[in-house]
Symmetry: C2
């Protein structure tokens, strides 16, 4: 009577959602202040004042028909020019508006890229730990997602495993750096090696393998970490960006796809992006927020609160005896669980009202994700609890 597949996708709760909802119920029993909810990746830094000011200025200065009217499908041409220049200023690229397609956030951008590229029997490859919605998005366009196991000592890439997975059916690789859930940034050496392998394999198979860079966390980096801009390292790159994190606008669904001129057969790829956006009905992202991000292009992200949280939680966990790769970006820690079964570990942590997400959900068992985009006081209060939890494991 209906699509059973869609029903399943719409009703099967994710582990994250289940944990979060448990936390809401539990908070009613024991009080909000006694729940340490590290489950959701929802920015807790408010959108900067310049966003509010930009909205008000636009409403006061412009004709409402221009503010709220349809834009052309790829987005307001002036906005695309401004965003292209901003990218060029920062990364030394040479894009113009015609390289950009404005989308409803990064999720919209990624599904459009998948749909634009995929032909029957296509395979996409990503690297554990990875954002679990990739699998659902890739499968929804009729392709297959293959996952390279995690390199758990530093969460860079296991290149030998990766090379074994590439086949003539490999359409594209998806990377996400700074990474959700590990917080790790791929080093320049990693990107160079990745680009070399893809160049060699593309030559071997006689068709391009695309590199899709999903980078909503690009600006959320600490200690001056360098995040290589992918099109500067590999020609057949597609960048998927969102302002959800950098400007704390996750609910406004505003981002873009970059298709560089260097991509093999640019017109075909950009045309296919436009077609995919059309059938996914993602043409014309919010016209007001297109104008807002153009006015605010180049303005800084407020990362200080996240960096403080990272330091506090990372140092606290290390002190409590956890092992964790120190992340340079995003707002997640991805430590090893204190027993190999990460589900059992997270269940145990839940007894202490510490709400953590099992690494298995990100394709990386034996770990857990802690989202630290929460109140500093919650982290402070949780540190002795993490110690107690660790103590219980030591006493076993």
């Amino acid at each position: 009577m209906i699509s059973e597949k869609m029903y399943e996708l719409g009703t099967k709760k994710s582990t994250i959602r289940t944990i979060f909802e448990y936390g809401r119920k539990r908070a009613l029993e024991v009080g909000e202040e006694n729940i340490y909810d590290y489950s959701l990746g929802n920015p807790n830094v408010p959108a900067p004042d310049f966003i509010k000011q930009a909205i008000i200025d636009i409403l006061n200065e412009m004709d409402p028909c221009d503010v709220h009217g349809y834009t052309v499908a790829p987005g307001n041409p002036k906005v695309r020019e401004i965003l292209a220049k901003d990218i060029n200023n920062r990364f030394g690229t040479h894009f113009t508006g015609k390289n950009l397609f404005i989308t409803s956030g990064a999720a919209g951008a990624i599904t459009i890229a998948f749909k634009a590229l995929s032909e029957p029997n296509d395979e996409f490859i990503t690297f554990a730990p990875y954002f679990p919605e990739y699998k659902c998005f890739v499968e929804s366009v009729g392709a297959t997602l293959k996952v390279v196991p995690a390199k758990i000592d530093d969460f860079q890439i296991q290149f030998d495993e990766f090379e074994k997975m590439i086949t003539p059916n490999t359409k594209a690789i998806i990377i996400n750096s700074p990474n959700n859930p590990s917080g790790v940034v791929y080093s320049e050496a990693t990107i160079k090696q990745l680009a070399q392998i893809l160049t060699d394999k593309s030559n071997e198979y006689g068709h391009p393998i695309f590199l899709i860079s999903d980078e909503p966390y690009r600006e959320i980096v600490y200690d001056g970490a360098f995040v290589p801009y992918i099109p500067n390292y590999y020609a057949n790159s597609i960048v998927c960006y969102s302002y959800s994190k950098s400007f704390s606008l996750p609910g406004e669904r505003i981002g873009y796809i970059v298709v560089p001129d260097e991509v093999a057969d640019f017109d075909k790829v950009y045309g296919a992006v436009a077609g995919a956006a059309r059938v996914l009905t993602h043409v014309n992202a919010s016209s007001l927020f297109q104008l807002v991000v153009a006015r605010c292009a180049g303005k800084p992200s407020n990362i200080a609160p996240y960096e403080e949280n990272r330091n506090l939680l990372y140092n606290g966990l290390i002190e409590a005896g956890f092992k964790c790769v120190k992340p340079e970006g995003a707002f997640y820690l991805f430590p090893q669980s204190l027993e190999p079964d990460d589900y059992a570990f997270c269940k145990k942590a839940q007894e202490y009202d510490l709400l953590l997400v099992p690494g298995t959900d990100f394709g990386c068992p034996g770990h857990f994700r802690a989202s630290y985009c929460i109140k500093r006081e919650t982290i402070e209060k949780s540190l002795p609890i993490f110690k107690k939890l660790a103590q219980e494991y030591k006493n076993k």
Copy 2:
């Protein structure tokens, strides 16, 4: 290398777009004021002041994290409650927030409904003249669109032709009233007869046939015309709504789907809607505009300028000798072309700088669409030109 199908969809220009772009070029040659562009259905009435005020109030009163944060996938629960109450007030229904799923405009709503419902070999049926994107949306979910020929005397429904087209594979019927391109509103008698046939056929085949009502023009009606609210006439209805026209917010992509409790297997249908929204990455429509439409729920649409334009253009065309069903809604006229070949007619009109869209593009040859959501002065200036064009045909 890429999806050829997506490339085709993204690069093949629609007739409307081709005509519009011709108009832009032609305006550079002869001056904007000498082009009578009736091609686009873009609201020219600005968003009402209460929209601007609502945005500013929300920004001043609320925490930015609440304004711009993620909402749950079906949309802000409080917003859904308010919108449900507004619908109940107007149409005597009894919806709550759980019957609504907020979407990125009506296009998003329609594709979600199609994707949620369709199984392999499904057929959808609509009535000419119809919005041409339906075909593209239906085919993109792997189903087939069948089109019942137009009833050209009044643009209601040819029920005998319709009944012949229904098969056990018919999943849903799509109606659009007030209609794009005819402007006609389906009468209560039409809706009752449609509901009766669907009830009978559902019983005959032993499964429900859904009725999807695409109604972005619901509030754009004249002469006090009555637009029946479909769930009051047929249980298995799904309503797709958008604020694009009623509040002149086409660029903000804000609308909703209604799944009434009366729908067979409500939980399954609503669940499938959620799944389809997920893979089409339409979860969480703009969080700011969710709040805005909730604050403005029940406020009136400014239809006076459209009604004036309708009267001016309709009377002018009748006086010039055109035949046209007088429309009661939307902002389109759909008169007969002055020769059977509507493409040839629109080409001839173009020589007079009258930019009209051939009816064939809406599944209804021998007609043309004139979108009158344009400046009143343009219509005034164009009337003598329409007369000249009609005179040329008379002199033939």
